[in-house]
């Protein structure tokens, strides 16, 4: 496949379960090695750049991360500073500031001394996001960051990420399972099926019923959200016959 990620924009990868979204993201992040071909970061082959330097430019939040026992929130977020540290530079004031800022943005500052095991699923996820934010990278890759989060938190998180893209000119690549969330926030939408890119482009062009049908095998209607002017897909939740039996509301 050939994929170009636009700079300073939000690119969202969607697709059915098992189509290879996570694999694609991990390959972009050099966690997995491509069987053939290259990943180019800032004009260079990512495999030839020192992994620590890659980590200074590119951050990844994997799906279902492993939390070691007993780690506090601040300790976890501090791990994100690893690429910027060395044996002698273990904890600069820049590190301190980055961690503080990341925790504020992700709204976990009030938990900073608590062990992560004591937090709820959603709070834990925000801690991990804070860790990636503390890395202060230009590229942020997130693998299904909105799992476990309730709707308000999902929306807040997506808004926050959108702000990062706009104000700080970061580039975001996300894997999402929620089509509408993806459509609402993506600049570039990539639809994956069986390991191949089926459709790739701006949301208005790509997000239509025919494409969704071909990729997800789902019948939908597309309407435009009056507030955001973004497409919203409405899956046909009930069959026509059932609808017919219900009294008109």
């Amino acid at each position: 496949m050939n994929l170009a990620i636009a700079d300073g924009k939000t690119s969202i990868i969607i697709g059915a379960n098992g189509c290879g979204k996570s694999t694609l993201l991990k390959t972009i992040a050099r966690v997995l090695l491509p069987a053939s071909g290259d990943v180019i970061l800032d004009g260079e082959n990512i495999a030839s750049i020192k992994t620590k330097h890659v980590a200074q430019k590119l951050g990844l939040l994997p799906q279902g991360p492993i939390t070691p026992e007993g780690l506090t929130v601040k300790e976890l977020v501090s791990q994100g500073r690893y690429p910027h540290q060395s044996f002698l530079r273990q904890w600069t004031s820049a590190d301190e500031a980055a961690v503080y800022e990341a925790m504020q943005i992700a709204d976990v500052a009030q938990f900073s001394e608590l062990p992560i095991d004591d937090l709820s699923g959603g709070q834990r996820q925000r801690c991990w996001i804070a860790m990636v934010l503390a890395q202060q990278t230009n590229f942020i890759l997130l693998d299904e960051p909105t799992t476990f989060l309730d709707l308000k938190v999902q929306v807040d998180l997506m808004r926050l990420l959108a702000e990062l893209v706009q104000k700080n000119n970061r580039t975001l690549v996300m894997v999402l399972h929620d089509l509408n969330l993806a459509a609402a926030f993506a600049d570039q939408l990539i639809m994956l099926k069986d390991g191949k890119i089926m459709h790739n482009g701006p949301v208005e062009n790509v997000f239509n019923a025919a494409n969704i049908k071909s990729v997800f095998n789902l019948d939908v209607d597309i309407i435009i959200d009056p507030r955001s002017k973004r497409p919203v897909c409405l899956p046909h939740l009930r069959s026509a016959s059932v609808c017919a039996l219900e009294p008109a509301l």
Binding site: A55, Y82, L88, R89
Partner: protein, 371 residues
């Protein structure tokens, strides 16, 4: 409810050196923040406390023993360093090297265990899991039982290579391009260790009794009979390996987060992993080659360190090392004194003493830092 306020430190660009002392940390920055270190206060206090304990018990070790010496005699021998008779020999040839060896071996085994537990992400990992003790044991037993004419002064070297060979074999067998599960490593280690143990036991069981007894003595792990040469070996290997380990300790910290996250943060390289394993094995193999297999310290010292004080990986390594040294030293003294004049081997005693301590730590309500 009081929630902690976070105050970011404003970087002052004009200061060359900057010391921040907060409630919990001492931060030390200089050279325009090219050197920026942070020390957890609790860790420092703990280390000081434990180090003093080690020194005190070491002094006790010098004073106790079958050969009665008064305090003045010991002090005068230490201070004047004059060999003037049997009593000096006792201190210089036996007790002092033994004390130092106990501390060093304890440290090395503890560090080895801590690193293994981190790499394998399994809190039950122990140097014996990767066949170090078994490899050394088998090499020595074969030397004793099969080639009794063999010069026993080469025993240490044999043991060392036995360990390295076995670990190399396990690493080779567990290497796989795609699948980096620590569980493979552990399972292979167990299988190979069991195999070696069985072969060793076979030699002991079917070999002649007197040879077997000699071997059994070594196998129990005894600090009895170490000389200054041994101490030198231990000391220099510690001197080489410990700094290498500390340099890698930050890499260990992110490895706890799982392979994917660690790679994403720029760590978890093959070089890092293999060098950590190599250091861990070298530490344990050297220690085992000098005094025989000493179990349990590699397992419990890291756990004990964690219970002592919550801290980052580097501090944890240091704490584990000191606790390991303390534990073995204590075990050795008890071994010497309990049924004096006979001696109980330290390797066995570490388990007998170490276990109740471990259980006590297990039972203590975990001090989770709740606000």
């Amino acid at each position: 409810m009081h929630s902690p306020k976070l105050t970011p430190n404003e970087p002052t660009q004009h200061e060359l050196t900057q010391h921040e002392i907060t409630n919990q940390e001492i931060q030390w920055r200089c050279f325009g923040q090219h050197v920026a270190l942070s020390f957890n206060k609790r860790v420092i206090y703990s280390l000081l406390l434990l180090a003093s304990a080690v020194v005190l018990i070491a002094i006790w070790s010098l004073f106790t023993g079958s050969y009665r010496l008064s305090a003045e005699q010991v002090l005068s021998i230490l201070l004047t360093q004059q060999a003037a008779g049997a009593s000096d020999d006792v201190i210089w040839l036996f007790r002092f090297p033994r004390t130092l060896a106990a501390i060093l071996v304890g440290m090395m085994m503890a560090l080895s265990g801590a690193v293994l537990q981190n790499i394998t992400r399994n809190s039950l990992a122990d140097p014996s899991l990767v066949g170090i003790s078994q490899g050394a044991a088998l090499a020595v037993v074969i030397a004793i039982v099969v080639f009794p004419e063999f010069d026993q002064s080469y025993r240490s070297l044999l043991a060392f290579f036995g360990s390295i060979l076995v670990t190399g074999l396990i690493l080779f067998l567990s290497h796989s391009k795609n699948n980096h599960k620590p569980i493979r490593f552990i399972l292979l280690g167990i299988a190979l260790s069991a195999f070696l143990s069985a072969v060793t036991t076979a030699y002991l069981t079917y070999g002649q009794l007197y040879k077997a007894s000699a071997a059994l003595g070594w196998l129990a792990g005894s600090i009895d009979g170490v000389n200054w040469q041994d101490v030198r070996i231990l000391f220099y290997s510690c001197l080489c390996l410990l700094p290498l380990l500390l340099l890698q300790s930050r890499a260990m910290a992110i490895m706890r987060l799982g392979d994917t996250t660690a790679i994403a943060l720029g760590g978890n390289t093959e070089v890092q992993k293999y060098s950590l394993i190599a250091i861990s094995v070298a530490l344990a193999a050297t220690a085992t080659s000098v005094v025989g297999p000493i179990g349990f310290i590699g397992l419990i010292a890291p756990h004990a360190a964690r219970r002592f004080c919550r801290c980052g990986v580097t501090s944890h390594l240091l704490l584990s090392a000191v606790i390991g040294g303390l534990l073995l030293l204590f075990a050795d003294i008890v071994g010497r004194r309990l049924i004096a004049p006979s001696q109980l081997p330290a390797g066995v005693l570490t388990q007998i003493i170490g276990v109740p301590i471990f259980i006590f730590l297990l039972l203590r309500k975990q001090a989770r830092s709740h606000l």
